[in-house]
């Protein structure tokens, strides 16, 4: 399984994201945004502040040629995962529903959070698994926002990947922490699985996520049903 981690100027989680993917058995490469090419099975847009978050988080990167490469790869059957800023980029690019707006209460929040998987469809649904997860968050604009009818449709069609459990960190509507698109091949999560890959760092739930993701992709990208 080949994974490409797309690096924009201002991206700052690319190294640990690539390490987490490699640790889970992906054949991983970092691709500078101007050099990203088709041919990978998984494209990961990592966290950070792509293009300095100018205009809005993700806004500039979403309109860059790299996203056209990612979009074509997705149309050709590849899977796409956005983490934190990557999630913001995918929403700005129209590949994922809703918007990620300023946290409520306002301000950047960095802490470990508990997540509850919501049996979403496809490989990403299989990757988050069924049990409670602990991943760190670190964001100032992570409040998932979408009109009620959109959210109803997300729930109805099994596209809510995970929700926050316990203390609400950012005011996300329906406590949504991650979603998948209609194809089931594009996913975005605000928390950082790549920071939860070592028992010594406080948990390995992120490692399990990447391992199951690789298995699911190896099985042809299908979920459990």
């Amino acid at each position: 399984m080949r994974a490409t981690v797309v690096v924009f100027p201002g991206t700052n989680c690319e190294r640990e994201t690539a390490e987490a993917l490699a640790g889970a058995g992906f054949d991983t490469r970092l691709a500078w945004h101007e050099e990203a090419a088709e041919g990978a099975d998984l494209y990961v847009l990592p966290g950070g502040f792509a293009h300095g978050d100018y205009l809005r988080p993700g806004a500039v990167a979403a309109r860059s040629p790299a996203l056209e490469v990612v979009r074509r790869a997705w149309q050709g059957g590849a899977h796409v995962l956005g983490i934190c800023n990557g999630f913001q980029i995918l929403q700005e690019a129209g590949l994922l529903p809703g918007a990620l707006v300023a946290n409520v209460p306002a301000g950047f929040r960095s802490r470990w959070v508990a997540l509850r998987p919501r049996a979403a469809r496809g490989a990403f649904g299989r990757a988050v698994g069924g049990g409670r997860l602990r991943w760190p968050i670190a964001h100032g604009a992570g409040r998932f926002f979408a009109p009620e009818e959109v959210r109803r449709e997300l729930w109805r069609s099994g596209r809510v990947l995970a929700t926050y459990e316990g203390e609400d960190p950012n005011g996300s509507l329906d406590r949504i922490a991650g979603v998948v698109d209609a194809s089931g091949r594009v996913a975005g999560v605000m928390p950082h699985p790549e920071r939860a890959v070592d028992r010594r760092l406080g948990g390995e739930d992120g490692r399990a996520f990447f391992l199951r993701l690789r298995e699911a992709l190896a099985d042809g990208g299908e979920g459990d049903g």
């Binding site: 987490a20 300095g52 960095s110 760092l201």
Partner: protein, 732 residues
């Protein structure tokens, strides 16, 4: 040569001391030009030249087994073994933060990152030391909010985790906040790049952002007391761009990894003139800088403005002429400027050209080595205070709540949760914790970092405060099983030309030196910030100590609190702490009347630290922390809250004044330890063998809160309900 300066006829110039103009004229054998005079005003300022503090800093011990690079470079380097080094430094940005808190703090973080970067180290951790005024003061609250936002905005965006720090509240910080930023970075010891030019003929290459008028005169600004009209100072505050910094970090490391950088100096205070002259002077060489080649942000800048600009996100590289194009290509990739602005000369002169004309031509040694200033310190400050009367029998619960809700003791989640503490995925133990622990790539050992300061003690005794802050660092490291390797310090003091200011400077350095020697912790570098005075007077004399330790094995995640009900709580060290200077004394007698703790018994400190370190490493203690701010009460309360449990402790019946010292006392050599009953027995045996005091305290309970008994009598039970009475008794 530009005409001789009008200003040269004056008797005083910003940043210069009385008599300096005469010294400069004598050294040059002529009057300096206007441009030259402005260079002296920056390079001879306290901020750049440490004129009052330099003679004292020689008192600090700087040698040690783990010291790979001591003071004199842009940061110190600690040898972690296996060819790996940890570069570290702490620096202040108080003056800018007092004027424009967000940008002042942000650029403080940016500056310390570049110090570490200049050695070729990739920044892996930030810590911050903050001092704020009371939250009830609207201006103080605005400053505090801005500083925290600034630290977060910069650190979060560059992708370096802020893993720890310290925040202290005193009225003396109200309108002059304290911002000390510490950075640690990893570097292969055989790939270190030094802040010295290689040889004559090399190109001086400016990498990074364009140069504008921001921060012009910042160095001399930071060497003055701040007057009331601070908004007029805004142009002297730099503006930070973390997006540019992130690209600058990557570009610099890429150029260094490719072997294209022969020497490197970050551009901080006094920008181009300081970085170019320091880089060449360290090597005994000179340089010529062509100011027409500096990429400018705005037109019409004068030569002296270009030389003194403190525009952020710039680095100076010494590059072989054959490699200039290769570095320029890396810069283009990261959308940064790379400009060959000068050359290294064999002749030890500092020469600058603008519009083809020589605007400065100075002997390098004269520019870079101003004479040290003499100090006239008053008597060593030590203000004794009688201990406050002990609480009345029914008053203990209220006093306990007042201590626990004191802003120095209360949880600081509103500060540390604003900072990304987990980016880079190597934070094994982050905030809130006495010391942070980082894993190392591909290794089983780890690094422990702590940043401490005790300004409340310093109000009464700056010597004891500095010494005890070193002790606190050692204790924080021991609590996570780490032995100290070295420290970096930041002295934040007042006007050294006054007797009181000089006395505080001498006392702070002496206290630091005494504890470093006694505990065997060398100093690898630091920063001195003087003239921290505002309209309301001198800032509390503050010595921040950033300490680096090594954890031989990071196993599992170190417990961050009391997590197992039924486990035993033990007090290591003397039963009673010091009431002087404690939060308890401050709550009862006010900050000014609280006094300070006595100087520590260093041998006892070393013995207790060795015991706790060993207990952690052998897995005998599930949790340990030092008993410090807020005393035993606060230590147990915090540990219980962090682990989601409660605790019950039982103190022996004793007179009320001694009970206060047990429960609220601070000072050196005490730790709280949690262990299973079996392991607690083994700890007691080991303590007895080591001749250490170890007192059973009580146990961890499932129900939250903290109950304190004295024999059969319940002294108080602070539960969550009680805690919600926030603010009550917070200030007297």
């Amino acid at each position: 040569m530009a005409r001789a300066a009008e200003a040269g006829e004056a008797t005083q110039v910003a940043g210069l001391l009385p008599g300096d103009l005469g010294r400069i004229r004598a050294g040059l054998g002529r009057a300096p030009s206007e441009t030259e005079l402005s260079l002296f005003s920056a390079m001879w300022s306290e901020h750049c030249a440490y004129r009052h503090s330099r003679p004292l800093l020689g008192r600090l011990p700087t040698r040690g087994e783990a010291v790979a690079q001591g003071p004199g470079e842009n940061a110190g380097i600690v040898d972690l073994g296996g060819g790996l080094g940890l570069a570290c430094k702490v620096e202040s940005h108080n003056h800018p933060s007092a004027v424009e808190p967000h940008q002042g703090a942000a650029t403080g973080v940016g500056g310390i990152l570049r110090d570490v970067l200049s050695l070729g180290a990739r920044p892996v951790a930030l810590l911050d030391g903050l001092g704020f005024g009371p939250a009830e003061d609207a201006k103080a609250a605005w400053l505090a909010r801005g500083v925290v936002e600034g630290v977060g905005a910069y650190g979060n965006a560059v992708g370096v985790p802020t893993v720890g720090g310290v925040t202290r509240y005193l009225p003396g910080y109200a309108h002059h906040p304290l911002l000390n930023a510490m950075c640690a970075g990893l570097v292969a010891l055989d790939r270190v790049v030094y802040g010295r030019a290689r040889r004559a003929g090399d190109v001086l290459l400016l990498l990074g952002a364009t140069t504008g008028r921001d921060g012009v005169g910042g160095a001399s600004f930071a060497s003055e007391d701040l007057d009331a009209d601070r908004t007029a100072r805004r142009p002297q505050v730099q503006v930070g761009d973390p997006f540019a910094e992130k690209r600058l970090i990557e570009a610099t490391l890429e150029a260094m990894a490719a072997g294209l950088v022969q020497g490197c100096q970050d551009m901080g205070a006094a920008g181009i003139v300081s970085s170019t002259s320091e880089l060449c002077h360290r090597a005994g060489l000179g340089c010529e800088v062509d100011l027409d080649r500096v990429p400018l942000r705005q037109p019409g800048m004068a030569g002296w403005e270009i030389l003194l600009s403190e525009s952020q996100e710039r680095m100076l590289l010494d590059v072989d002429p054959a490699d200039v194009e290769a570095v320029a290509a890396i810069a283009r990739h990261w959308s940064l400027e790379a400009a060959a602005i000068g050359r290294v000369l064999a002749e030890p002169v500092y020469r600058a050209r603008r519009g083809g004309e020589v605007v400065a031509d100075l002997p390098m040694a004269l520019l870079c080595e101003p004479p040290a200033a003499s100090l006239a310190p008053g008597p060593r400050p030590r203000r004794a205070a009688p201990p406050p009367p002990p609480p009345a029998p029914g008053e203990w619960g209220d006093v306990a709540v007042a201590v626990l809700t004191h802003p120095d003791v209360a949880d600081k989640a509103e500060v540390y949760e604003r900072y990304d503490s987990t980016v880079q995925a190597h934070t094994a133990l982050g905030p809130p914790s006495g010391a942070a622990v980082l894993t190392l790539p591909g290794r089983s050992d780890g690094v422990a970092l702590t940043l401490d300061m005790n300004p409340a003690y310093a109000l009464a005794d700056p010597h004891a405060a500095a010494a005890l802050t070193v002790v606190e660092g050692v204790q924080n490291l021991a609590s996570v099983g780490a032995e100290p390797l070295a420290l970096t310090d930041c002295l934040n003091l007042g006007d050294p030309t006054t007797a009181a200011g000089a006395a505080e400077l001498v006392a702070s350095v002496d206290g630091l030196a005494e504890a470093c020697r006694a505990l065997g912790v060398p100093v690898v570098g630091g920063n001195v910030s003087l003239y921290n005075e505002g309209p309301a007077g001198r800032m509390p004399p503050t010595v921040a100590v950033g300490m680096v330790g090594r954890v031989p094995r990071v196993e599992g995640r170190p417990a961050r609190g009391l997590i197992r009900a039924g486990e035993v709580l033990l007090l290591v060290g003397p039963r009673e702490g010091e009431v002087g200077g404690s939060v308890y004394a401050r709550v009862r007698a006010g900050d000014e009347g609280a006094g300070a703790p006595a100087l520590p018994d260093y041998a006892a400190v070393a013995r207790a630290a060795a015991f706790v370190r060993d207990a952690r490493r052998r897995g005998l203690a599930r949790y340990a922390c030092d008993v410090w701010t807020g005393g035993l009460l606060a230590a147990v309360w915090r540990a219980a809250a962090a682990g989601g449990r409660g605790a019950e402790i039982d103190l022996e019946p004793m007179p009320a004044d001694r009970l206060a010292a047990v429960l609220f006392g601070e000072g050196a050599g005490r730790y709280l330890v949690a262990a299973s009953p079996t392991r607690a027995r083994r700890l007691r045996e080991r303590a007895a063998a080591a001749g250490l005091e170890l007192h059973p305290l009580g146990s961890v309970r499932s129900a939250p809160g903290l109950a304190v008994r004295v024999g059969a009598r319940l002294l108080f039970d602070v539960t969550a309900g009680r805690r919600s009475r926030r603010g009550e008794g917070r200030r007297r």
